[in-house]
């Protein structure tokens, strides 16, 4: 009897995992099929000709360069929004902040306001101020990513014991050593999560890249948008879209691993 229960539970786990995987995987199936299809006329259930034409066309359209630019954009946004969010989150969780409500509202505002409503005005502003489009793009996306990083880091610091840092100082560690040897290692899992979210903001953005970037910076979403607005490009679009799915999945796995190591 005592052994039956776990066995029964283990048996029930498999279908649940299968359901969860299906939830994530089913939308990708047509994409996978299209990416490997040279010809897939309408009534056919499966592609009639298999091949890698889509991938060759994608490469020809500059998908490689777009991938690199997207990664760089995501990294730049994460590099700006993560430390800023960490500092704001720490201040909100651990220190007395004047006009706290107002500060919190301002930090969270970018989620509440639709980006296209703001970016039109911002474009003229950055153009007049002479700020290069790409710089303006990174700045605007970093502000959009702030609510996520602030939220993650504030929750993390709410459960953070400053006593560890005080302990380290009485043991002879200066502010720099405390930051590098105590503060950052303890905050690492939360920082990874915040950076991941900030990266996604830059990675998946379309509207801001289009308007503020002025079309100079062709990222993966821009490429997908341009390609899918024309007909007969399904295989290319599928190949580029798949390219866009892989890096976040890898990062998600890395973040989960880091969080698990931190929890150990």
């Amino acid at each position: 009897m005592t052994r039956a229960a776990p066995a029964w539970r283990r048996a029930a786990v498999a279908p649940r995992v299968a359901l969860a995987l299906a939830w994530l995987a089913v939308p990708l199936v047509p994409l996978l099929l299209w990416a490997a299809a040279d010809r897939w006329p309408f009534p056919a259930v499966l592609p009639t000709d298999w091949g890698l034409t889509g991938w060759r066309q994608a490469a020809g359209q500059g998908a490689g360069g777009a991938l690199g630019r997207s990664v760089l954009l995501g990294l730049a946004v994460a590099a700006l929004a993560t430390p800023a969010g960490a500092m704001a989150g720490r201040a909100l969780a651990l220190h007395r902040v004047p006009a706290r409500r107002l500060v919190e509202a301002l930090l969270l505002a970018p989620v509440a306001v639709p980006p296209f409503a703001v970016v039109m005005g911002l474009t003229t502003l950055t153009l007049r101020a002479g700020v290069p489009g790409t710089v303006a793009l990174v700045l605007v996306l970093s502000v959009s990513a702030l609510p996520y990083t602030v939220f993650v880091m504030r929750s993390a610091y709410a459960g953070y014991d400053v006593g560890f840092e005080e302990e380290a100082r009485t043991l002879g560690a200066g502010p720099r050593a405390v930051l590098l040897r105590v503060h950052l290692p303890l905050a690492a899992p939360a920082l990874a999560t915040a950076a991941f979210l900030a990266f996604l903001v830059g990675w998946s953005d379309y509207v801001v890249t289009l308007v503020v970037g002025g079309g100079q910076l062709v990222t993966l979403p821009m490429l997908v948008g341009a390609l899918s607005s024309a007909t007969g490009n399904d295989a290319v679009v599928a190949a580029v879209s798949l390219t866009a799915v892989v890096p976040p999945l890898l990062l998600l796995a890395a973040t989960a691993l880091l969080a698990r190591r931190g929890a150990r």
């Binding site: 005080e166 100082r169 002879g172």
Partner: protein, 345 residues
Amino acid sequence: MSTDLVLDGLVRRFGGAAVLDGVDLTVPAGGVVALLGPSGTGKSTVLRLVAGLDTPDAGRVRAGGRDLTGLAPERRGTALVGQRPRLFPHLSVLDNVAFPLAVAGRRRRAARAEAAGHLDLVGLADLAGRRPATLSGGQEQRVALARALAAAPAVLLLDEPFSALDPGVREGMHRLLADLRGAVSPTVLLVTHDRQEAAAVADTVAVLLDGRIAQAAPAGELHTRPASLAVSRFLGGVNEVPGAVERGAHVSALGRLALPCASPDGPGVLVVRQEAVALTGPADGDATGTVTRVTPRGARWRVEVTTPAGPLSAETGPGRTPAPGDAVGLVLPPDQRWVVPQATG
């Protein structure tokens, strides 16, 4: 390595109220002083001021003739072990102990070798590779102690480090502290609310009452010769006989009781520890009365007796114990008699 620690008129206010109101205290080099006081009297604040984690509103902290008052915590040489051990969870036990050596710029290999020595000092050499999360409470505190000693502090500050431990483990920690004194003789300022712990560990016990040091003396002296009624009461003394001192004797409703040492004439309260009071027949004794209540206190019994001077108590060992209603005599041994000023206000 040991230096003395001198606190000079430390004042700390929180929101206008002075929690510490002029704390003066000296810990001699290599000595252990226990700071004893009720909870919420700012005992831990004293340690935070010494460690530099908080800033006094007035007063100075000196160690070995060096004024520490304005220095950053990491420049003071005052390692702190708190009630929670706060071992760094991302480091192994050995690297926790090596932490102060690593931040002092020691090479990793040398730091670990020296840390292993400190770990051996607290008897945990075989746990070096473990993660802190896998340790028991007592083991964690031992590692925290080893880590603090690895910092080679001029003064070791202990903030109720053993109060969360089981009684048996706590006694082991007291023995360890005594052993450590033999090995490295650090200067220690220990904060506790436990009278037994203070008496067991420290040379001198300082009682912190109402933001000031009410008395600092060896534990035995503190109990038999308290400086004030407040100290006597805080240390659990219950016998108080109001009266006056006249020519070397205390005069009260109990009559004239000779005093062992000279006290100035005038009103004064006679105090005798209940543990020192002996029971005898109703015909003998310095006071006679009726037993009103007998309460067990572990292996001992507290006997409360109504006398002409008010209620008095005696603690007796296991054996014959009187019952309520019995008429008994109380012996107040002359060398245990002590007079404190009447409470003011």
